[in-house]
Each structure stands twice: as structure tokens, then as C-alpha cells.
């Protein structure tokens, strides 16, 4: 016996009106199938309520008035005119496959063109140079992107870049410190002189940028001397 046959017979089975072979078949199926057993249990609990509870508790008070209200609601719904705007709107958005394909194609072409134009315009200031630029030379497009948070402002970009450079400098400096004890005094002196010259420049540009954060040239030079410092440390770390 399958589940459908069992569900068809289950009500009759619970009323004990099934013939013996069918009743035993249902019983066996219920023992094996948890879904049908659950249906049987639900039905059984409903029957129990009907048997145990008094009719006054099952039937709501003033059932006549309840039926009247239900009838009134049904009558009102029948009398109300059908909503007029629904059908045309549905028809308006029903597009053929060709129309849909054309629309998707148009969107793809337009977005590609927009992307191409945007990128072409944006390559004017190279990405690497962005860290050294000031807010004064930002394009309107860049300003908009910065305001909505899709792009870093030049100052934010510079700070991020400085942090990255400083991290690299710290890394190479730690390596240099472990190696420099093995250098001879000529190497040590040359290294120290160069590091001092670089640090002087770093301090100069940092001070200028503190006074005038929009000084692009100092931003660019600071970036350059920090790279020089990184290279010096890296070059001497393998001696």
C-alpha cells in the first residue's frame, strides 16, 4: 500500500469500518510510514476533541450572528467592481523574448560605453600619482566618488601609502639592525650618512605638508624619498 491509498482509507479506518485485510494493510503502512502516522495522529486528536469537548465549547457563541457577518462580507465582495488598472499594467510589462534581449543588449552597450569613457578620463592622473595629488586638482568625478565613499580622497590615499611604506621600512630596518654588526666601519659610515640625508628630506617634506597639505610636489617628493629609504635599507640588508 502506498501513501495515497493509505490517506484515502485512513478516515474509514479510524471509524473502524474497514474490512479486516484492508485494515491490517493500513495498520502495517502506518507502522512503516511516519508521514501517514502523523496524519493519523492529527486526525485522531481532532476526533478526540469532538468526542470529549461539549458542543458549546466547539461552536462559537452566537453562531447565527457570525454566519450573518460572513454572508455580508461575501455579498460585499461580490458587489464591488473589479480593480480596473491591474490588467493593463500586467499586459504593459509583458515583453517578448526579442524585446527583452534588445533591452539587455542596450543596457550592456551603454554600461560598457560609460565604463570606457570613465576609465579613459580617469587615466589622466595615473593611479600611482594619486597619492601625491591634492584635493585642488581632483576632477569633479573624483570628488563625487570621494564624497559617496567609493574612492579615497588624495589625503586618505597618501596616508594609506605612507603607512604601507612605513611598514616596509620597519621590516627592512629590523633586518638591517641584525646585519649591521657584521659590517665594517666604511660600510656602516656610508649607510648612516645616506640614511641621515634621506631622513633630512623626509622631515623637510613632512613639515611642508603639515603647513600645506595641498602641496603636490612635496607629496610626490616625500613618496620618492621614502621609496629611496626603503631601497637603501633593502640593499644593505643582504650584506
Amino acid at each position: 500500500m502506498n501513501c495515497d491509498e493509505c490517506k484515502n482509507l485512513i478516515s474509514v479506518f479510524m471509524d473502524s469500518e474497514l474490512a479486516e485485510p484492508q485494515a491490517s494493510a493500513v495498520q502495517m503502512h502506518l507502522a512503516a510510514c511516519s508521514d501517514c502516522a502523523l496524519v493519523c495522529a492529527d486526525l485522531s486528536s481532532i476526533l478526540d476533541v469532538c468526542i470529549t469537548e461539549s458542543p458549546s465549547e466547539i461552536v462559537p457563541p452566537n453562531s447565527q450572528a457570525l454566519w450573518c457577518r460572513i454572508n455580508n462580507i461575501i455579498e460585499n465582495e461580490k458587489a464591488a467592481p473589479p480593480p480596473p488598472a491591474e490588467q493593463p499594467r500586467g499586459r504593459f510589462w509583458q515583453l517578448s523574448f526579442g524585446q527583452l534581449s534588445a533591452a539587455v543588449l542596450c543596457i550592456a552597450v551603454i554600461s560598457s560605453l560609460l565604463t570606457f569613457v570613465t576609465i579613459s578620463n580617469y587615466t589622466q592622473p595615473a593611479a600611482a600619482d594619486f597619492t601625491t595629488r591634492s584635493a585642488a586638482t581632483q576632477t569633479t568625478f573624483e570628488k563625487v566618488l570621494s564624497k559617496v565613499g567609493l574612492m579615497e580622497t588624495p589625503q586618505q590615499a597618501r596616508e594609506t601609502r605612507l603607512k604601507e611604506q612605513q611598514a616596509a621600512i620597519d621590516y627592512w630596518n629590523a633586518r638591517v639592525q641584525t646585519r649591521r654588526t657584521q659590517w665594517n666601519h666604511i660600510t656602516r659610515d656610508a649607510f648612516d650618512r645616506n640614511l641621515q640625508a634621506i631622513d633630512e628630506s623626509v622631515n623637510d617634506y613632512t613639515m611642508i605638508l603639515q603647513k600645506d597639505p595641498d602641496d603636490e610636489l612635496s607629496g610626490e617628493m616625500l613618496d620618492t624619498v621614502l621609496n629611496d629609504k626603503m631601497n637603501l635599507l633593502r640593499d644593505f640588508s643582504d650584506l
Binding site: 659590517w183 656610508a190 650618512r193 650584506l239
Partner: protein, 256 residues
């Protein structure tokens, strides 16, 4: 009795003389040993397209172009002497003293290398001077990590890069069309001697000194920006690119 005394005095003098002579001999021998220079010499035949790549630690490197299809390497080494292990790879002669002497204290190594005119030259040193002359290949690169002068004379390469920390840079050569030229120093003087027929786009920056002398190359297409810290513009049709940066020194242009 007198003879015995004289004999004893003579023996003592002889002993003293012997000791003194031994000490002098030892000192002389030691002095000769410490000041000794060892030399290295090797020659490699080359093909049409060859590149010399050298990474030195300390010392002067001189590279000269010559009209022979071979690379000649000569080096004189101060004590403690360095290991020099040139490698002849396909189209490249590689000498890396940094790698070959890692963790060792080595003295100056002064190279004199002769290469075919058309050889690409890429040389580096941590400390010391770099001198390149008579090269007309696609590349001349000279890089000093810290201090030393760079002298490039009679160069006709399309890509030239010279970079040092403390020291002067002198370039005397041609500016090729579509070429790329980069000179950068932390502190020193950068002087470029180029033909008046050159054509290039220029960005020259001397932020600390503002000392940028264009000489005869000054024209209306060149403009000073950033309170005179940078000159940018074009000379001639401007097909080559010339970038010069001197953080704490001067930049000068001389007509060749």
C-alpha cells in the same frame, strides 16, 4: 779576562740584533700581506645581443665599450678578498658579488670591464663609483645604493638610468628619439651634456636647492612650477623622455 768580557758583550749585541731583525722582518712581511692586492681576469666571447649584469659591494666599476665581440673582465681586490664567480648565461654575463660573498667582510673590488659597443650594461654597487663609456646599446643602467659618483660618457643608448645617494652624476651622450632617460640623486650635482639637436620632454626637480640651470636649452616651452622647484616642458619635438630629480643638489644642462 778582557777577552771574555768583550766576547760576552759581542754575543749580547748579536742576540739583540737578531731579535730586532726578526721583528722588522715579521712586520714587513705582515705589512706586505695586508696591502696585497689580488687580481682576477677572464674573457668571454659574445654574440650579437649581450648583456652585462654586475652587482658589486664596494669599489669602482669601470665599463668601456670596445670593438671586439668579447667581454673582458679584470678585477683587483683588496683584502679580505672577495669571491668572484661570473656566470655566462644565454646572452648574459652575470657577476653577483653580493650573493657570492653574503655574510662575509670583503675589501674593495675594482672592476675594469670591456664590452662590445652594443652590449647592454646594468651595473650596481653598494658603495663606490660607476664609470661607463663608449656604449651605444639599448640599455645603460648605473645604480649606487649609497654613495659614489656616476660618470657616463659617450653614451648613445635609448634607455639610460643613473641613480645614487650621495654623489655626482655626469652624463655626456646622445638623446635618442623615443628614448627614456632617468637621473636621480639624493645629494650631489647632476650635469647633463647633450647635443643641441636633442628633442625631449623634460621634468627636472630640485626641491631643496631650486637650482636648475637649463643653459641653452631654456625656451618658452619650458616652465618653472612649484615655486621654481621643478621645470617641465619640451625641447624640440619632445619625443624622448628625460626625468631628473635631485633632492638636495643642483641640476645643470650643458650643450654638447
Amino acid at each position: 779576562m778582557i777577552w771574555i768580557v768583550k766576547n760576552r758583550i759581542g754575543q749580547a749585541a748579536l742576540a739583540k740584533t737578531t731579535i730586532l731583525l726578526s721583528v722588522v722582518f715579521f712586520l714587513c712581511a705582515f705589512a706586505v700581506d695586508t696591502s696585497a692586492q689580488r687580481s682576477f681576469s677572464r674573457t668571454y666571447p659574445t654574440g650579437q645581443d649581450i648583456r652585462l649584469q654586475l652587482m658589486n659591494r664596494t669599489g669602482t666599476v669601470t665599463v668601456e665599450g670596445w670593438n671586439r665581440p668579447e667581454i673582458s673582465i679584470r678585477a683587483s681586490m683588496d683584502a679580505p678578498t672577495a669571491n668572484i664567480v661570473p656566470q655566462s648565461l644565454s646572452g648574459m654575463i652575470l657577476i653577483n658579488l653580493v650573493r657570492d660573498n653574503k655574510g662575509r667582510d670583503v675589501g674593495n673590488v675594482n672592476f675594469l670591464i670591456r664590452v662590445p659597443y652594443n652590449a647592454k650594461v646594468d651595473i650596481e654597487t653598494k658603495i663606490g663609483n660607476l664609470i661607463v663609456s663608449n656604449v651605444s646599446s639599448g640599455l645603460v643602467r648605473a645604480y649606487i645604493s649609497s654613495e659614489g659618483d656616476i660618470t657616463l660618457t659617450n653614451i648613445a643608448s635609448s634607455a639610460v638610468s643613473a641613480e645614487n645617494g650621495l654623489g655626482d652624476i655626469f652624463f655626456d651622450g646622445e638623446i635618442q628619439e623615443e628614448g627614456n632617460y632617468r637621473f636621480s640623486s639624493m645629494r650631489g650635482n647632476i650635469n647633463l651634456r647633450i647635443p643641441f639637436t636633442s628633442s625631449f620632454k623634460l621634468v627636472a626637480t630640485a626641491p631643496s636647492t631650486r637650482s636648475i640651470s637649463l643653459g641653452e636649452f631654456a625656451n618658452s616651452n619650458m616652465s618653472f612650477v612649484g615655486d621654481g622647484r621643478r621645470v617641465s616642458g619640451r625641447f624640440g619635438s619632445g619625443s624622448a623622455t628625460l626625468t631628473v630629480t635631485n633632492q638636495r643638489g643642483s641640476i645643470g644642462f650643458i650643450r654638447r
